[in-house]
């Protein structure tokens, strides 16, 4: 009994008297002191914080062999066994840098990523919605970034000397066929997908990941939002139609539906148009979205879009404007996308999905009819993760199957053509971090095409190196291929894919809300489709071309209070010899200089957000059959000043106004020529101009929700 108490007292006494002093210094690889590290004697309260020079010391009453742990942000955890017997212990702690998302260099060559979450983005998701003149169209907003060339009569994305088909759109990694709504000849089309559906946008003007195939010039990857947080109803009353949307949110999931009707007829009747409409465009669109979290780490998403649009007009003869031809286009479009993502563990995630597109154009021109149908299914699985903190891997497989059919009849004769293409592809890419300062991304894409019966491998390589605290240099190289346009493959199914090689060098500097970027590139085109002896029914892969240029970008939302602005400039030198071109010339869609200035300003006092965009594009070539030189003509420069204004009389109500080409400049996009010479031996011409000088738009958006401060501003 007594012995027990004695023993207890004895041990207590021993514990209290034996103190050991532990001291040392925390340093990095170069011997520099690391401040504020947490020094922990594991499983005890004992320890301390290192001082500003990395020095530390503390006393402990613990005895025996213990573990000393040193932790500090940005470095790997350090562990060291210490023997505590009362004698002072000195530990030299040398920490190894941890590769982490925040400190590590990112590959910026060719890439413009927009995200609300990620920190080092040049362009934000909301920018797409609030850029003046873009009228909430993704392509129009991206057209204010370097690397794009404005083609006013198309409204689509033209990247670095490439045509509009060379940019491919992906939603949650799944391909979208026919990403633009139909439009009348020489009038700009709009993207089918509204920017507010997406939480992030990655727009690459070259050198993109091996994950993205079938794009010669550019990949536009859109990440849809996760589940909605609140239940709400949105009503929009627009000068060109209206929409109603409802979102139902529950714990871990949400469902949303939207119905939108657009009719340009009353507007076109009010404002004089240069188009002789029979029936101005009208469309009905339904959108459904569903999101559900599965367990703690997985999410399932579904998105569906159905659209029917219809218009008809009269095209007047160039030589005799009293002769007119009837043109009608009906378009039916369905897109469905199912997506699944599961975080397997701390290091690995798997994602994948299936997308289905069906697009049908029913055309009438004079007494001729055409019916074009494209159906595509895309299935894909990707595994992403890290082998160690220095190696990240992305690998996946996909199948894209497309059915294309075209039928035309005129004056009793009919013709039908089509093809069925199946592409099976696999890709793998590794990010190798030598340090936080230097990363190499190497990978490749393997693709098999059933029509050409060819297996191909396209390499990709990117390097990025951090210079100083805020700057970085990156380089990207890649080989890209894309099946020729449907209209050519249907004529000749043995056509090889068209190919491009990109070489990109980029410097980017970001210092607290100011960004500067300069990028230069060289792109070589090979195997472009070319007519044999000028005959559009005899095609071969004999075309080639190049594009090179230099681009600048400056963004600043710090210098002027409340003002956020950016300036982009692109210089482009490109020539190609393809299709009916007799030799290498500048194509009609390419312009040498493109300059955009975009500004945004929120005026608190009058509850208004103001935005303005000014764009300048030098003249583009057009072919004048009255001269010898092919594509020898040049249009005047294109200039546009657009303005938008959002006014919030109440938090749940927004009144929105926008107007393009405020100054009413008469922009000319090119000239159309008669196919026959007139009496003087000259081909008559007619300029291609904007349908109306200005496009004005007014809308009222009302949000009904329990939380009355919610409004649609982010969606505009």
């Amino acid at each position: 009994m007594k012995a027990v108490f004695t023993a207890i007292l004895f041990f207590t006494h021993l514990a209290a008297s034996g103190q050991t002093r532990i001291a040392g210094r925390v340093t990095g690889a170069a011997g520099e002191g690391i401040p504020m590290a947490n020094i922990i004697l594991e499983n005890t309260y004992d320890g301390t914080s290192a001082d500003a020079e990395g020095n530390f010391q503390f006393m402990t009453t613990e005895t025996g062999t213990q573990t000393l742990v040193v932790k500090v942000m940005g470095y790997k955890e350090y562990r060291h066994a210490v023997n505590l017997d009362g004698k002072p212990v000195t530990v030299a702690v040398q920490l190894e840098e941890a590769i982490n998302e925040l400190e590590a260099v990112t590959i910026s060559a060719g890439a413009f990523t927009a995200s609300d979450e990620s920190r080092r983005t040049v362009f934000k998701a909301i920018d797409i919605a609030t850029t003046a003149g873009a009228t909430a169209d993704i392509a129009s907003a991206l057209n204010t970034l370097p690397g794009t060339q404005k083609v006013g009569e198309s409204g689509r994305l033209f990247v670095r000397g490439g045509d509009d088909s060379e940019t491919r759109t992906f939603i949650d990694g799944m391909v979208v066929l026919d990403a633009y709504s139909p439009s009348a000849p020489n009038t700009p089309s709009r993207g089918r997908f509204l920017p507010f559906m997406f939480k992030g946008t990655s727009f690459s003007t070259g050198g993109y990941s091996a994950e993205y195939g079938q794009a010669l010039s550019s990949a536009l990857a859109l990440d849809s939002k996760d589940q909605a947080e609140s239940t709400r109803t949105d009503i929009g009353i627009l000068s060109v139609g209206g929409d109603v949307a409802h979102t139902q949110a529950w714990d871990g999931g949400s469902a949303a539906g939207k119905l939108q009707y657009t009719n340009l007829r009353p507007y076109m009747g009010l404002i004089d148009q240069r188009i002789d409409w029979n029936n101005a465009p009208a469309s009905l669109e339904g959108i459904a979205a569903f999101r559900q979290k599965v367990g703690t780490d997985a999410i399932v998403k579904f998105y569906g879009n159905m659209n029917h649009s219809d218009f008809s007009l009269y095209q007047h003869d160039i030589d005799d404007s009293s002769t007119k031809y009837y043109y009608r286009l009906q378009n039916d479009y369905q897109y469905m996308n199912g997506f699944y993502k599961d975080i397997l563990n701390e290091n690995w995630l798997v994602r994948g999905g299936v997308s289905y597109t069906r697009a049908q154009n029913n055309m009438t021109y004079d007494n001729r009819h055409g019916l074009e149908t494209e159906k595509g299914i895309h299935a894909k699985t990707v595994l992403e993760g890290s082998l160690s903190d220095h190696v990240e891997i992305k690998t996946g497989t996909e199948v894209i199957s497309r059915d294309y059919a075209w039928a035309a009849d005129s004056a009793g004769s009919s013709l039908s053509q089509g093809f069925h293409e199946v592409l099976a592809a696999g890709f793998a890419e590794a990010d190798l971090y030598a340090s936080n300062k230097f990363v190499t991304r190497a990978g490749g894409r393997l693709e098999y095409n059933n029509l050409t019966r060819q297996l191909s491998i396209d390499p990709r390589l990117s390097l990025a190196y951090k210079v100083g605290a805020h700057g970085q240099v990156s380089f990207a190289y890649g080989r890209f291929r894309q099946t020729a346009k449907n209209q050519y493959v249907r004529v000749n199914q043995d056509l090889d894919p068209e190919k491009a090689q990109h070489y990109i060098l980029n410097y980017q500097m970001m210092v607290s809300d100011r960004t500067f970027r300069v990028e230069t590139y060289y792109k070589r085109y090979t195997d472009l489709v070319k007519y044999i002896n000028g005959d559009a029914n005899q095609l071969k892969n004999a075309g080639k071309g190049y594009a090179k240029g230099i681009e600048l970008f400056w963004r600043d939302n710090k210098s002027l209070r409340g003002v956020d602005y950016w300036v982009s400039y692109s210089y482009l030198d490109t020539k190609r010899d393809y299709l009916n071109f007799p030799y290498k010339v500048v194509p009609a869609f390419a312009s040498k200089h493109n300059l955009s200035v975009v500004g945004k300003y929120f005026v608190q006092a009058i509850k208004c957000q103001l935005g303005a965009t000014w764009s300048y594009t030098t003249g583009r070539p057009y072919n004048n059959p009255n001269t010898d030189a092919f594509n020898g003509g040049k249009t005047p420069a294109y200039v546009d000043l657009s303005l938008n204004l959002a006014y919030l009389p109440r938090p749940s109500v927004i009144i929105y106004f926008s107007c393009t080409n405020l100054l009413g400049r008469n922009n000319i996009f090119g000239y159309e020529y008669s196919t026959v010479q007139n009496a003087e031996g000259i081909y008559n011409s007619r300029p291609v101009r904007q349908a109306a000088s200005r496009l004005a738009f007014i809308g009222i958006f009302i949000t009904l929700s329990k939380d009355r401060s919610v409004n649609q501003l982010p969606s505009l």
Binding site: P35, N38, T44, Y45, G47, S49, I126, K199
Partner: protein
């Protein structure tokens, strides 16, 4: 005699064990209390980091307690509010979120932890309101409402919710009536706040009064 001796030994052991447990509990409470004062009083980022380091050491040793994670996260949020660099602000907030997640796993019914999570989202939002507002404002509001629902006596939940409502109203130029009512409620809860936990959070009253000063 043998039996008595044996019983005495058992009693002594029980006493010794519970005594040790008590002593440990005391040590935990006392160290925490001392350090909670330190984190409340710290002004500079290094001073807060020093306190945060201590909480992290305690958290590593006391694997079942939510309070060390809570206060470490609170410290990181304070560091984010004092830091100028936006990227570093986000790093501190990432650290805060890691701690809040752990505290939440240890004490899933604790309204204070949920309120702190809402606070972290508010600061996350404040880093770039223009582009983050749309995403984080509803998240922060929802979480703070949840904190209020879990414990209607938690003044910090009301205070943060009120400040969130105030900021939103101010940004949109609408009436602050609702926000001010919530802040009033928060002040009332501060005056009646009581907890059996000696380590219960006590912060937030001054900030509430400051926010309330804007109300007419």
């Amino acid at each position: 005699m043998k039996t008595i001796n044996f019983l005495a030994l058992v009693a002594a052991l029980i006493f010794a064990v519970s005594g040790t447990a008590l002593a440990n509990d005391d040590k935990y409470t006392q160290t925490m209390q001392k350090n909670i004062q330190a984190v409340y009083q710290a002004q500079s980022i290094p001073d807060i980091q020093t306190a945060v380091n201590t909480f992290e050491r305690i958290a590593a040793a006391e694997k079942t307690r939510w309070e060390p994670y809570y206060y470490a996260s609170f410290g990181y949020i304070m560091m984010a509010t004092r830091e100028q660099d936006k990227e570093r602000k986000d790093t501190y907030l990432d650290q805060a979120m890691t701690g809040i997640k752990k505290a939440g796993e240890l004490a899933p019914a604790e309204s204070e932890v949920v309120a702190l999570e809402g606070f972290a989202y508010m600061i996350r939002l404040s880093v770039d309101p223009g582009s983050r507002g749309a995403r984080y404002a509803p998240v922060a509001t929802q979480i703070l409402n949840k904190a209020v629902a879990m414990n209607s006596g938690n003044p910090r939940a009301y205070s943060l919710l009120g400040q969130m409502q105030y900021g939103t109203a101010e940004f949109l130029g609408s009436a602050t009536t609702e926000a001010c009512a919530t802040l009033d409620k928060a002040l009332e809860k501060f005056s009646t706040f009581a907890s059996t936990n000696p380590l219960a959070p006590r912060w937030g009253q001054a900030a509430t009064e400051k926010a309330k000063a804007g109300c007419k």
